[in-house]
C-alpha cells in the first residue's frame, strides 16, 4: 500500500533526548507513517483531549514527559502547538479537560491537563534550551496587525517557516488581551513577557505604539499591502458590546453617559494601563464570561463589600470553568441567575443608584450548549448598587480598515478557502474572524492560518499531516495510577488575596503533585491491538480487564469518512470473529498485555506528525 512507508529513523530526529544517557547513540525504532483515514480517524476518536484542543496539542506526549521528569521537553512539546504554554497553563478555557477520558462516567475526574501544562513550564530547568525547527529564509515579508495571542502565534509560525515578520501593535506593550484584559492575580506579567519575548527574539520586528487605521497619523492597510507580501489582521475583539436597555437607542452606550457605570473590558484595560480605578461599596456585574468574573474579583480586591454577578440564564450554562466560579464565590462574589437588566435607576439628583432587572425563564437551546433566556413580563424588580460593570461580550472593530473586506452577518471578517479575505494578500485570524472566543482558539486558528498563508506565499503545500505509529515495548502505566485522585491546585489563602491585590491566586503544582497528576493520564495515544492470527480466544484478557474494554466482536462499524465507529459485540461463540480492545473504553492500564498467553497484544504510539513534502 502506497499509504504506508516503513522507515528506520533516529528517534532524536524528532525528539530531544538530551536528558537521557542515550543521547549521541543511534537509537532506531521501526516507525510507520500512515495517511489511511482509519489511522487518522483513530487519533481523532481516541485522543479526546488533543481532538478537543483548538491548537491540536499533543497532550499525552507532554504529560508522559512530565512523568519522566523531563519538564523542558514537555514544555517544548507544548510549544510545538502553542507559543504560550505558561500563559495557557493558567488561563486556558480547557476544552481538553471537558473531553478527557478520565472524566468519562465511571472513570473519575478529568486529568488536570492545564495545571500540568503550567507545571511543565514551572519546573523546566533554568536556562532550558528552546528547540525551534527553522526553515531556510524565503525572502517573503509579512506584516501582522495586532500582537495579541493570535498575532504572536502567527508571527512565531511564519518566522520559523522562513518569512520575515513585522508586528504592528497599537498599545505600548504586546500581548493584547493577555496584557490588558486578564488580571495579574490570574496571569503574572513577568511570565507573559518572557513567553512573548521567546517569539519576538526569533527575529520578529515588533513595532509598538503604532496605530493602524484610517486616521491621519495612522498607518494604512493599503500601505502595508504595498510594502509586504502578505498582511495578517489579528486585532481581535477589543470593543465592548454596549448594554441594551429600555428607553435608550440601539447603539447608545450607557457606560459613556452615566457615572459609576463602566464597560468591564474598558475597566480592566484601563486598570492594566496603570490608571487608578475605584468602585463603590456595592458592585453589580452583568455578564457571564471570564471578563465578568474577572471584573467581580477585581472589584472585590478594590475594596467593594458586596459584589454580585447577574446572569441571564443559570450557572449551568455559563462558559467558564467551575474552578473559577468556585474561587470567585470563595472570595465572596455572589451569582444571581435568571435576570436581565432593563433600566438604570437613579436618585433624585440623577446619580446612579441601581439597576432594574426583569426575571427570566429558560428558553430554547443556543449553539454551544447554551440556553436562551426569555424575560417574564411584569416581573421587574430593583437591585440597588453603587457601581455597575458591564461584561456582556466583545466585538471586532472594523473601522481600522481603509479597505473594503467582506464581512459576515455578525460583523466578523469572512475568509475564503485559502484563509484569505476578499482582498488578495490580506489574511485574518483569531477573534477578528471568529468573534470573541478563547485564547486557545485564537492561537489554534492563527496556527492553522499560518500554514495556509505559507502555502499561498510559496505557491505550494510544504507539509502534510500523517499519523506516526511507533511501537511501545510494554505498558507505561500501572493500574494503581487509576486510583490517584485529581490533584487540587494549591491556592493562596483568602486572607492573602484581597489585601495583597495582585498576588497570583493559584500557586502551581510542586514536582510531587505534578508527578502524581501526570500518572493519572491514560496516555490515550497508546493503541492496544490484538493479533487475531495468534489469539486463541481464551478470554484471559477479558478476565483481568478493569472495565468493559475488551470485547468479543463480529464486526465493526465503518463510517462514511472511512473511519471506524463502534464495535459489534457477539455473545455466541460461533459468531466471535475476534477478541478486540475497544480503545474508546480502554484506559491503557496494561493488564491485558501482561496476561496474554500467546503475547498477541501489542501497543503502539499514535501521534499526529507533519511531514515535509
Amino acid at each position: 500500500m502506497a499509504d504506508h512507508e516503513i522507515r528506520t529513523i533516529r528517534l532524536d530526529e524528532n525528539e530531544d533526548f538530551s536528558n537521557t544517557q542515550s543521547y549521541g547513540q543511534r537509537i532506531v525504532t521501526p516507525v510507520r507513517f500512515s495517511t489511511d483515514p482509519r489511522d487518522i480517524g483513530w487519533v481523532r476518536e481516541n485522543i479526546p483531549c488533543q481532538t478537543a484542543c483548538p491548537a491540536d496539542t499533543n497532550v499525552p506526549a507532554y504529560i508522559r514527559t512530565i512523568m519522566e521528569e523531563r519538564y523542558g521537553r514537555s514544555y517544548e512539546l507544548n510549544r510545538l502547538a502553542n507559543v504560550l504554554p505558561g500563559v495557557l497553563g493558567r488561563i486556558c478555557s480547557r476544552p481538553c479537560e471537558a473531553a478527557c477520558r478520565h472524566g468519562w462516567p465511571g472513570n473519575g475526574a478529568p486529568v488536570a491537563i492545564c495545571h500540568l501544562k503550567r507545571a511543565a513550564g514551572d519546573h523546566k530547568q533554568i536556562g532550558h534550551r528552546i528547540t525551534e525547527d527553522l526553515y531556510t529564509p524565503t525572502g517573503k515579508r509579512v506584516a501582522i496587525v495586532g500582537a495579541g495571542p493570535a498575532g504572536l502565534a502567527a508571527a512565531h509560525d511564519l518566522t520559523t517557516l522562513g518569512h520575515d515578520v513585522t508586528i504592528f501593535e497599537k498599545e505600548d506593550r504586546p500581548g493584547g488581551m493577555l496584557s490588558y484584559g486578564i488580571p495579574e492575580f490570574r496571569l503574572p506579567r513577568d511570565l507573559l513577557e518572557l513567553e512573548i519575548h521567546n517569539t519576538i527574539r526569533l527575529g520578529v520586528d515588533l513595532k509598538t505604539g503604532v496605530s493602524i487605521g484610517s486616521g491621519e497619523n495612522d498607518v494604512k492597510i493599503t500601505d502595508l499591502l504595498r510594502d509586504y507580501d502578505a498582511v495578517l489582521l489579528t486585532t481581535g475583539c477589543a470593543a465592548a458590546i454596549p448594554l441594551p436597555l429600555r428607553n435608550i437607542g440601539r447603539d447608545d452606550d450607557v457606560s459613556l453617559s452615566v457615572d459609576n457605570v463602566e464597560n468591564g473590558l474598558d475597566f480592566l484595560m484601563e486598570l492594566h494601563r496603570g490608571e487608578e480605578k475605584q468602585v463603590g461599596k456595592r458592585v453589580a456585574v452583568v455578564g457571564a464570561g471570564f471578563t465578568a468574573l474577572d471584573c467581580a474579583r477585581v472589584a472585590k480586591r478594590l475594596g467593594a463589600d458586596d459584589v454580585a454577578i447577574h446572569i441571564r440564564t443559570t450557572e449551568e450554562y455559563i462558559p467558564v470553568t467551575k474552578d473559577e466560579i468556585h474561587e470567585a464565590k470563595r472570595e465572596g462574589v455572589i451569582i444571581h441567575g435568571l435576570r436581565t437588566p432593563v433600566e438604570l435607576l437613579s436618585d433624585d439628583e440623577g446619580r446612579f443608584r441601581g439597576v432594574k432587572f426583569v426575571q427570566n425563564r429558560l428558553g430554547g437551546w443556543r449553539s454551544g450548549g447554551r440556553r436562551q433566556a426569555i424575560p417574564i413580563e411584569g416581573s421587574e424588580f430593583d437591585e440597588p448598587c453603587d457601581t455597575l460593570l458591564i461584561a456582556i461580550g466583545q466585538k471586532t472593530v472594523t473601522d481600522i480598515l481603509d479597505v473594503q473586506v467582506d464581512l459576515d452577518r455578525w460583523g466578523n471578517v469572512r475568509l475564503g478557502q485559502d484563509g484569505m479575505t476578499s482582498i488578495p494578500g490580506l489574511f485574518s485570524a483569531g477573534d477578528f474572524v471568529n468573534g470573541a472566543s478563547t485564547v486557545v482558539e485564537a492561537v489554534g486558528h492563527a496556527r492553522k492560518l499560518s500554514v495556509r498563508m505559507d502555502t499561498w506565499l510559496m505557491g505550494r503545500e510544504r507539509r502534510k499531516k500523517v499519523v506516526k505509529i511507533s511501537s511501545v515495548d510494554e505498558p507505561l502505566r500501572q493500574r494503581s495510577f487509576d486510583f490517584i485522585p485529581r490533584q487540587e491546585m494549591p491556592t493562596e489563602p483568602l486572607s492573602e488575596r484581597i489585601n495583597t491585590d495582585n498576588k497570583e491566586v493559584e500557586t502551581g503544582y510542586d514536582q510531587t503533585l505534578a508527578l502524581e497528576e501526570a500518572k493519572r493520564c491514560y496516555l490515550c495515544y497508546h493503541k492496544y491491538e490484538i493479533d487475531i492470527d495468534n489469539c486463541i480466544y481464551c478470554r484471559a484478557c477479558i478476565e483481568v480487564a478493569p472495565r468493559d474494554c475488551i470485547k468479543m466482536v463480529d464486526g465493526v462499524e465503518i463510517k462514511g469518512d472511512g473511519t471506524y465507529g463502534s464495535l459489534h459485540e457477539a455473545s455466541e461463540w460461533d459468531k466471535v470473529g475476534a477478541i478486540w480492545v475497544d480503545n474508546n473504553e480502554c484506559i491503557r492500564c496494561g493488564a491485558c498485555f501482561k496476561v496474554c498467553p500467546t503475547k498477541c497484544i501489542s501497543i503502539t504510539r499514535n501521534e499526529i506528525f507533519y511531514q515535509d513534502l
Partner: protein, 292 residues
C-alpha cells in the same frame, strides 16, 4: 510489532476469519474453561483442521472421558460422546467399528489417559483403530482442583503431594512409540499455528494417530508447565528428522527437558477395520485383498 510491518485492519481480518468458515464448527455456548486455559487453543486448532480438511461436521464424532479436557465435545458443533473417566478409547473403538465412515476424535487429559485409562491405550494403539487420540497434557488434575497426575514433574507440589511429587512422570511419546501407534506427534497450546497444522495432519492420517499437546493449567499450576516455562522449553523437531525412523523418534522423545514439537513418527499399516474386513473375507472363504 507485526502490525507495524504489516498493517492489520479489523474489518478486513474479521472478513477473512468469517470467510474461512471455521467459526461454524464452534458451539454457541462459550467454553467453560478458566480464562487463559491452553485448551482454547486446541478448540481453535480443531476447528481449523476440520475446516481445512473439508470434513462435513456431521461426520465427526468426538469422544471424551472425564476431566477438564474431556469437556471438549461440548464446545464443538459436531457429534460428541462424553463418557466415563478413563473409558474413552473403548467407546471410540466401538463407534469406529460400527461406522467406519465417521471421523472419530478421542479426547482426554493426562489423568484420564494415563492414570485410570492407561490400560486401554496400548490396545487401541496396537489394533491401529482409525481414530485420532489427542491428549491434552497439563500435568495436573484440574477438575478436582489440582492434584498430581501421571505426567506431573518430579518435585511438583499439589494438594495430594504436599511434600512434593516423588514419582517420575510418564513419557507418553516413548510409550506410544513402543505401543506401536502409527502416527505420533507433539504440539504446544501456546503456538496456535503449529498446533492447528499438527491437528490437521493427525486427523488426515489413516490409522491410530496420537497427538500429544502440551498445555498449561493456568489455575492450579503456577510453577511447572506454565506458558512462560513451556515457551522457553519447546523447540521444533529438526527439519531433517525422518518421520519413518523410529529410533530417531525415540531419541527425540527422550528429550523431556526441551520437548521437540512436530511429527515424530509415522507409518502406514492396516487399521482395525481393515483387519475386521479381512477376517470377514477369510470367514467367507474369499481370498484376502491385497494388504495395505
Amino acid at each position: 510489532m507485526g502490525n507495524l510491518r504489516q498493517p492489520v485492519y479489523l474489518e478486513e481480518k474479521l472478513e477473512q476469519v468469517r470467510e474461512s468458515g471455521r467459526l461454524n464448527i464452534r458451539s454457541k455456548a462459550l467454553p467453560t474453561w478458566c480464562p487463559g486455559c491452553g485448551y482454547f487453543s486446541i478448540v481453535d486448532g480443531v476447528t481449523m483442521a476440520i475446516n481445512q480438511l473439508q470434513i462435513n461436521q456431521k461426520d465427526v464424532t468426538v469422544v471424551s472421558g472425564i476431566g477438564c479436557a474431556s469437556r471438549f465435545p461440548f464446545f464443538l458443533d459436531t457429534y460428541g460422546f462424553h463418557t466415563l473417566h478413563g473409558r474413552t478409547l473403548p467407546v471410540a473403538t466401538g463407534i469406529k467399528v460400527a461406522n467406519d465412515d465417521l471421523t472419530v476424535l478421542a479426547i482426554g487429559g493426562d489423568g484420564d489417559a494415563f492414570a485410570i485409562g492407561g490400560a486401554h491405550i496400548p490396545h487401541a494403539a496396537r489394533r491401529n483403530v482409525d481414530i485420532t487420540y489427542m491428549v491434552f497434557d497439563n500435568g495436573i488434575y484440574g477438575l478436582t482442583k489440582g492434584q498430581t497426575s501421571p505426567t506431573s514433574v518430579l518435585g511438583f507440589t499439589t494438594s495430594t503431594s504436599p511434600y512434593q511429587n516423588q514419582d517420575r512422570p510418564l513419557n507418553p511419546l516413548l510409550m506410544m512409540l513402543s505401543y506401536d501407534a502409527s502416527w505420533i506427534g507433539q504440539s504446544y497450546a501456546g503456538d496456535p499455528r503449529h498446533l492447528s497444522e499438527m491437528i490437521t495432519q493427525a486427523i488426515a492420517h489413516r490409522g491410530f494417530s496420537y497427538l500429544h499437546i502440551l498445555s498449561p493449567c493456568v489455575t492450579f499450576d503456577k510453577t511447572s508447565k506454565t506458558y512462560s516455562n513451556l515457551k522457553a522449553q519447546v523447540r521444533n523437531l529438526p527439519d531433517d528428522h525422518d518421520s519413518s525412523d523410529r529410533m530417531a523418534a525415540i531419541g527425540y522423545s527422550m528429550d523431556v527437558d526441551t520437548p521437540p514439537i512436530g511429527l515424530f513418527y509415522k507409518e502406514s499399516r492396516p487399521t482395525l477395520s481393515d483387519k475386521l474386513d479381512l477376517i470377514v473375507d477369510k470367514a467367507r472363504g474369499r481370498n484376502a485383498r491385497a494388504s495395505g
